[in-house]
Amino acid sequence: MNEHIDPAPPPDGDDDPVLSAAGARLRRRSSAISPSAVEVAAMRRRVRRSGLVAVAAVAVVALLGGLLIARSDGKTKTVAANATRRSSPAQVERLLASLAPQPIDPTKVQLVSSVSTFGDCNGLITDLRRVGAQHVGSRGFGDTYGVFNLVGARTSSATDAAFNSELTTQASQPAAATDGTTLGTNVQVEGVDELDHVKAAGSLVYDLDGKGDLRITDTSGTPHVVSTLDVTPAAPKDADDEDRAPDPTVNDLLVTNGRVAIFGTESEVSKPVEGDPSATRATTSFMTVTFVDATDPAAPKVTDRVRVEGSLVSARLVDGQVRLVTTSNMADLGFVIPTTPNSVPKALEENRRSVATSSAADWIPDWQRKGDAAHPLVPCERVHVPDTFSGVAMTSMVTFPLGAGRFEPAGTAILAPATTLYAGTDKVAISSDVWVDPIDRERLKFDDWRTAIHEFTFADKAAPTYEGSGIVDGSTIGQFAFGEVGDSLAVVTTKGTPWDQQLKLGVDLTILSPDGKGGLRVASKIDDLADGKGDVSAVRFIDGRILISTGTLGREVDVIDVSKPSAPRRAGTVTLHSTVGYFHPLPGRRALVVGTRYDTVGEGRHEMTRTWVRADLLDVSNADAPAIISTWERPWSSDEVGSDHHAFTYWPQRKLAMWGVQNTQLGTPGGNNATVLGTDGQVTQVAFPTADKPNATPPPCPVVQVTNPDAKKLIPAGGVVLGCADKGLKEIDWPRYQCSLVDDAMVAQYEPDQAGKAAVFLCTVAPWPSVSRVLVVAGRPMLLTDQTLEVLDPATFRPVSITYLPSGGRYGPY
């Protein structure tokens, strides 16, 4: 037997010098993890799972749907099946083998303006896989958060055409009869309605009450609510589930002939991935469209409700057709990011493989009716792909008849982001650039950056048509990049890339016109609009004029005369006295400029900032000598017109401008108002009606006399405690008060006599009503506030009647 070698006795305690030294060396060699990398990876993984869930859902639903649809519509079945068809392993390997070792170098890409369409889904997805795989990097397609953050909000950078040349249409409308006029809240273009939370038609007012309901109020006689319809199905509630989806919302509506379309948002939270101890869930967001048949206003009913992947950019109602623009980013295909330098090649290979195995359904958003199959929002044949790859965001332009009461979309799409997008009445313009991975944007330098512009047109009831593309120098400037000048498209650009704009080097105007061959040619151009002053804060398009606001506060306004689009010229300059919130064009090349200014009053400790609401009547009929010809202003006031131009109403037949004004002077008596200004020749204050409090009524439940001294301290001055016998009540409305349910435990603590016997509400004095919209319904002006609908006399603007019409949520009292 061999001699046994005894091991060394274990060291005392846990002091082991060999292991300690080896451990110390191991720690020195080990990398720390970056917190930001963890957060980014967590977000990506969340998005990835969302994508996978969506893909799986689409595949399953399309399969089931295909069987169902096959009986009625073979063509639809083919499209749905094609959209989810995946490539064969051999195709994938062939594509991967054909790729260069590295993604395409964007500095060597030559931008071309053309776009391609494909005869079927196979052609489309073959192209998308190829260009996608060529461009995808080791981190996928970079930033996805911007798109996902858009959910529920309209793209702030999308140009709202209401600020631009469309307004000229209304300005030139002939005066109509005054009597019986009903204005919605958007009167910028005759016959074109925009989204808002309130609409008027005939003698009816349709509004969303902020609690998920559509409310219809008949204003003939004294206004009264004729129906309230819940249009927001509640999300499944699980009080213990922190990851449950947020409640659906409804935000805007459109109305025609008693048919209502309501736009909102909803989210879906997936079940945790099986086997994942973190129980991670993916959240996917949708926009929703709910159709209501309110031809009988007393008995409205929901006729359809669908959800559409992506988010709402713009929607308009023209001749009974809704024209909708959405954005989505469905091509996050489970991309990975490398965690170490050594894993970059592996990550690149994985990401290329993800693109190579994608299906058309991964790229095209779909829409779905609850319990029904998912459908592509746009058929593959109508997806336009820029011939220079511009990323994976998809902008979809869809039209559908509101009167049908069902979602029946006809759509066109382009694989380009809606970040700088113009959505006019008929025209939609979208820019696209050479794709550059966000991670490389600081590192790479680009000389002579250029931008492709693509134009689409909505017409009649058909899907929008592609009109053509052109190229402009530089990059488009966010919110005010586009405008229409006659039949041409004006584009404002600056030097540099979108992420490194060189405003100081000049802001240029390019006018693109159809070239007759399906393209857009540069018809004319003005370099350095701001004349060396750099910062451009806004560009407004007004009937043959373009107004360029420069300077920090945008008060210097340069006028460009574009009455001849082929020969635009610089003209005069005017200095405004307020920060511009809204331009409203008026006949005769005039505009009412609604803005804000500030000054200070008092001294020392008593010095205060005073806000003014101001309206200037600007005359640019003589482009060389623009002038402010009249001004109205009001101290200690603010308004919402700058942030929401729907708050402004123009009554063209009477040439009146009307909007709500809030009193900003604390401690002064009186409430909030609306201003009514005449704009004919001069700006004159016609009226300044106060939004009255709702009529007082007895409390809806018995008053509880609070005796507990501690409880009394919790009740604000003027507050009242009510005890309602219906213990299930969660909320009550009481004019002039805001009531909230008191927690059972608190009731038991302070008023044990009430505990378990009643629903106890603490009601505090409501603030003064604040005017959110000035409506004109059947010839009568009305103030819609957060608490009331107040009818005014058309001649004197004095109150005629006040109807209690409480709103909650975002439309409720402050």
């Binding site: 082991d16 292991l19 451990g23 191991l26 720690r27 060699r29 917190p35």
Partner: protein, 170 residues
């Protein structure tokens, strides 16, 4: 910096070391630790309320590392090889005769609970109390795991050496 950021910066390097000790691949270890922190981040609302969020993330990472690691025949052969190396060196402590790769290969050959304790103690440089918290065992149990782990390490190397001697009496 957020509390989460502090946690990552405080814990990640040692945890990567401990995971490396268990899986034997630093890149894989980084991925495991990053994923553990990702899970932590996604559930931060809950994890941050724990007395010791670090123990939570360590537990996730170590469990994952242990589940990923499977002692393969290659691993066993490696231990045999290192055992032979140890036998060829003149040392009272066979572990001291090994280079770091050999040491950690020997650790990976231990039963899982012992390997975890050793990796956390010497790889992550954690106290016995933290190890107990992480592995959800009592303090004496954690001490016992460490002691048995250290003993097993050396005895396994010695036994391997015995086997070598038996196989090759020359």
């Amino acid at each position: 910096m957020s509390d989460f950021g502090d946690l990552v910066e405080t814990e990640s390097r040692g945890l990567v070391a401990a995971a490396t000790a268990i899986v034997g691949d630093s890149h894989r270890a980084e991925e495991i630790v990053q994923e553990a922190f990702e899970r932590c981040f996604r559930r931060w609302k809950r994890v941050s309320k724990l007395d010791r969020p670090g123990a939570w993330v360590r537990r996730v990472a170590i469990n994952e590392a242990i589940s990923v690691h499977r002692r393969s025949s290659n691993e066993i052969r490696a231990v045999q090889r290192f055992g032979a190396m140890a036998a060829s060196e003149v040392s009272d402590d066979p572990l001291a005769a090994l280079d770091d790769n050999g040491v950690w290969a020997a650790v990976r050959a231990l039963p899982r609970d012992q390997a975890s304790a050793i990796a956390l103690r010497y790889g992550a440089d954690l106290s016995v109390e933290d190890i107990a918290e992480t592995l959800r065992v009592s303090l004496p149990a954690a001490k016992s795991l460490l002691h048995r782990g250290r003993t097993s390490l050396r005895s396994s190397l010695t036994n391997q050496t015995d086997e070598q001697v038996k196989a090759d009496p020359t």
